[in-house]
């Protein structure tokens, strides 16, 4: 996908090697971006046409109802378990869009148009993140594909518009933060990341990577203390701003915190391709706590952009694989840096992004009456094809089996478990691979002795 285009400057004829997304020639990249963005918006609007989760199943009306509740001020119904920024945003949303149309009904009826607004809103945010990203200065050939991949990521689309959530806002901020950092604007990056964190605490998965990278960068400056101070101020200020209404007493703040981290629920929910889940079929884990991967230490030593992305991936992956109370939607998090990395290493990450995450989400998806269809696959070199074919085949087989065959009575969740085990295996392989890559990146640069830390 990243190949250079051949252009002959003769009148009227522009032959293109890559899939014919557009007919126009070189510098109409604005046109391409616009068309890709519009198409992504179209797809989201189309998905919004379909049913959303929980639509006709009282009393669990699902996330959509929850947002309306915020605006009518009834926290008891579906407790708010995201940080303040989400609350503000859904309040605004409710005020502006829902109240004029659907004053106070709680019966699950939907004003169709009000689902389009989330679509537009989300799209705007990711786009915003993407624009900053442009500063990266890649060849213009790859940059629309990146945009396409992120915007058209089927997992994100299905979750946000089918299942209904606002993940894209926090992910959008996160991407903006990454972009800012990659182009050297660290203060802006930290600010954006804090926003992201304050919108959904899921972004904390990335926190170690951000922290390590930024710290590393600061320490290599002339005046490390000052740099750290600047960053700290930005972070603190952002947090204070967000939490302002809840800072009037310690109790209030604590209450918000407790909502954010519901430890009362079990260590896993619903068959996520997680370490705990997979191994639970063998060993029953009880109250094991969060475990972090400290391989980020390497990043602290020699911060580099590429390493940063890998760190993001590893950090989020380890969180996903090992942490407490992981939701399937969290797979979105590793997906983003994976998408970003996919262009450099299309084999591994393309494979990951498009086949397995989707499968892992399958359990979630299946509860929605929505179809899942494949997107374009990136080019893959011959050698790996057999391996991937095998795993794709087994995934497809599982898909089919899941749909057609009834599980044996003794193990009603057999297929979910199998799918999950398969995904977990693949995620582990990829996580190991990614960690190795990050280490080799580090080793390739002059300098510091490596220190391996075990999980």
């Amino acid at each position: 996908m990243g190949r250079r285009r051949k252009e002959s400057p003769t009148a009227g004829e522009v032959e293109e090697e890559r899939p014919p997304y557009f007919f126009g020639a070189a510098s109409t990249s604005m046109v391409r971006i616009l068309a890709v963005s519009l198409f992504a918006l179209l797809v989201r609007v189309l998905v919004a046409l379909g049913p959303y989760s929980g639509r006709r199943r009282p009393p669990m009306y699902g996330d959509y109802e929850w947002y309306r509740n915020t605006s009518s001020n009834d926290l008891a119904y579906w407790g708010l378990d995201y940080p303040p920024l989400t609350a503000y945003q859904s309040y605004v949303h409710g005020r502006l869009f829902l109240q004029p149309f659907v004053p106070d009904s709680m019966d699950g009826s939907v004003v169709g148009s009000s689902r389009i607004f989330p679509a537009a809103l989300c799209f705007v945010f990711i786009y915003f993140g993407r624009r900053i990203r442009r500063g990266r200065g890649d060849g213009s050939v790859t940059h629309e594909w990146l945009l396409a991949m992120i915007l058209l990521n089927p997992c994100l689309i299905l979750i946000d518009h089918g299942h209904f959530q606002y993940n894209c806002i926090s992910l959008g901020f996160m991407i903006g933060a990454v972009a800012a950092i990659l182009s050297g604007r660290e203060l802006l990056g930290s600010f954006l990341f804090c926003l992201s964190l304050n919108h959904k605490q899921m972004s904390a998965y990335y926190a170690p990577a951000f922290f390590a990278h930024l710290l590393g960068k600061c320490l290599r400056r002339h005046n490390p203390i000052l740099s750290v101070m600047k960053l700290a101020i930005v972070v603190l200020a952002t947090f204070v701003l967000m939490w302002w209404p809840y800072l009037y007493s310690l109790d209030a703040a604590r209450e918000v915190l407790s909502r954010l981290a519901p430890f009362e629920r079990g260590i896993y929910e619903d068959y996520v391709a997680n370490f705990w889940c997979s191994t639970s079929t063998l060993i029953k884990w009880k109250m094991r706590f969060t475990v972090k991967s400290l391989k980020l230490f390497s990043l602290y030593q020699v911060p580099s952009n590429h390493g940063f992305l890998h760190a993001l991936l590893n950090s989020s992956f380890s969180f996903y694989l090992f942490s407490y109370q992981v939701h399937e939607k969290s797979i979105l998090l590793p997906l983003i840096p994976a998408s970003l990395l996919a262009l450099e290493e299309p084999t591994a990450f393309g494979w990951l992004t498009y086949t397995h995450s989707l499968l892992s989400l399958f359990g979630l998806i299946y509860r929605l009456p929505i179809e899942v269809h494949g997107r374009r696959r990136p080019r893959i070199p011959w050698k790996l094809q057999t391996v991937m074919a095998l795993s794709s085949f087994s995934s497809a087989l599982l898909h089919l089996v899941y749909l057609i065959v009834r599980p044996p009575r003794r193990y009603p969740f057999l297929f979910e478990a199998l799918i999950m085990a398969l995904c977990f295996a693949q995620f582990v392989i990829l996580a190991i691979y990614s960690n190795i890559r990050q280490w080799t990146l580090r080793d390739a640069s002059p300098g510091f002795p490596s220190e391996k830390k075990k999980i």
Partner: protein, 499 residues
């Protein structure tokens, strides 16, 4: 080939996502036809009246529905139960929606063949214009019809003719007419062209031989389609069902054709004549209702009958027919046939807006010929899309879809104009090339579309609420009628001017 497949698949994704969207009564119509062909014997197909949605397509389409009903029965037997009127379970929705998506493979074949001779960029443009046509997507996949299937056959026929394979082209056209008789409007063009191109110039006996061969081919198709009904002595009934002339001059929502102006003129004249004291009666009949005896819905102007409209259509086509007679060149066939359908649209009886697809889609092929053609196509397609709005009874959810499809389509078309036609490679050229393609008047007309839309969607409900509910529609119809009539004259000019 890979190009084509990619375009089709991308479109298919969008179409599949449209599955839960709004469906019109046409959905139930087709479901009923599935049930009809599946459960009743052939002799009952055109006689049965268990539903108001009687079979009004010719037999080949009925056979198609019959074939489709076989897997339908496997998926869900309730689909083909003839008593199951209005069945709307997930199974039937999904089945029918997917059937249209697959039927569009016909469009893929047609587009592929007809664009075969074009160079890379132009070929892809034609693919985009046909396979991603917003109007076609909306009509087929929201409103629900099988136009893609039939238009694919039309394109196939045109492709065969332009490649000089007249016999096959004639065969395809015969199949097309026996699937949807509305396509027969272009029959005079086909007849004259085939006569002059296929059946002449090789000596009287060979010509006659070819004439008979063509006749035989058409005859076989007709026999396969109508044979069983001839056997049952039902031909009259079949024709009665196929040509329901009991309907009025205009469809409930006026198609933007010549009759719009006729009606408006009539109303104006009646108004002014009354003012000047002449006794003018307000007619009791309406334009959309049937003909009631000899009473006419027109107050002043002469009454219009189906015969009159037919004559007008033929008269409209005649300059083109003369041209075909004189110089039957394959490369102009697409223009001639599009023109024929345009005439049918402009002067026809009880024309639906959807009939505009019959000439808009073939014109997409022409769009690749020159900048002016592309600009004209853009105007036409945009206006056409505008039409498919309230008349097709969209919900508020579907409107953004239509808008987005339009925007994406416009971007693709407009951004390709410059590199394909002027060889320049810069994005600043998009506005200038568009103006060059469409003409300054065209730009104003496009702006007018936006104004009409804004009025219809926003200002009218805001300012007038529920009053004058027909006004936005009338506005759209009239505004587009100007464009359609202009397109008609423009096409004629191009045909006469072409060497």
């Amino acid at each position: 080939m890979a190009d084509l497949a990619w375009f089709w698949c991308a479109a298919a994704c969008v179409k599949v996502l449209l599955a839960p969207a709004y469906r019109s009564t046409d959905f139930e119509v087709h479901r009923h036809w599935l049930a009809l062909t599946s459960s009743l014997p052939i002799s009952q197909w055109y006689v049965d009246a268990s539903s108001p949605w009687t079979l009004d397509y010719p037999p080949l389409f009925a056979y198609f529905e019959f074939l489709l009903s076989i897997p339908a029965a496997i998926v869900d037997p309730a689909i083909v139960d003839i008593r199951n009127l209005g069945y709307e379970a997930e199974s039937v929705v999904l089945f029918q929606r997917l059937s249209v998506v697959f039927a569009d493979l016909s469009l893929l074949v047609g587009a592929g063949l007809i664009a075969r001779r074009l160079s890379g960029g132009k070929r892809r443009l034609v693919y985009a214009l046909i396979l991603w046509s917003p109007a076609l997507i909306i009509v087929d996949h929201v409103h629900f019809q099988y136009n893609g299937l039939l238009l694919g056959v039309l394109l196939l026929s045109l492709a065969l003719l332009t490649e000089g394979r007249d016999l096959e082209g004639g065969l395809a056209f015969a199949v097309l007419i026996c699937s949807k008789h509305l396509f027969a409007i272009a029959a005079p063009v086909y007849f004259v062209y085939l006569l002059r191109h296929y059946c002449s110039g090789r000596g009287i006996w060979r010509d006659l031989g070819r004439f008979l061969k063509m006749g035989a081919v058409v005859g076989v198709v007709a026999a396969v389609s109508f044979g069983p009904f001839l056997y049952h002595g039902q031909m009259k009934q079949v024709f009665y069902r196929l040509f329901p002339f009991g309907r009025g001059l205009c469809h409930a929502y006026w198609a933007p054709n010549f009759w719009v102006f006729y009606i408006i003129l009539d109303k104006f004249m009646a108004f002014f004549l009354r003012k000047f004291g002449y006794p003018v009666e307000i007619p009791s009949a309406s334009f959309t209702g049937g003909l009631v005896g000899s009473s006419s819905p027109f107050a002043v102007l002469p009454q219009v009958t189906p015969a009159v409209s037919l004559v007008l259509v033929i008269v409209g086509m005649s300059p083109c027919l003369v041209r075909v007679w004189k110089k039957p060149e394959p490369r102009h066939v697409v223009r001639w046939v599009s023109y024929a359908y345009t005439c049918g649209f402009i002067f026809g009886w009880h024309v639906h807006e959807k009939a505009s697809l019959h000439f808009v889609i073939p014109l997409a092929v022409i769009a690749a010929d020159s900048l002016e053609d592309a600009g004209h196509y853009f105007l036409l397609a945009t206006g056409d899309l505008l039409l498919f709005d309230v008349p097709l009874l969209f919900g508020p959810e579907e409107y953004p879809v239509k808008l987005l499809l339009l925007l994406i389509h416009s971007i693709i078309v407009l951004s390709s104009l410059s590199p394909l036609f002027s060889g320049k490679v810069s994005q600043e050229d998009v506005p200038t090339t568009t103006t060059a393609a469409v003409g300054p008047a065209g730009m104003w007309y496009l702006a007018g579309f936006a104004a009409v839309e804004v009025w219809g969607q926003l200002l009218h409900p805001l300012l007038l609420g529920d009053r004058l509910p027909f006004l936005p529609l009338m506005l759209v119809s009239t505004y587009c009628a100007f464009g359609m009539v202009y397109s008609w004259t423009w096409q004629l000019r191009r045909i006469l001017a072409a060497g």
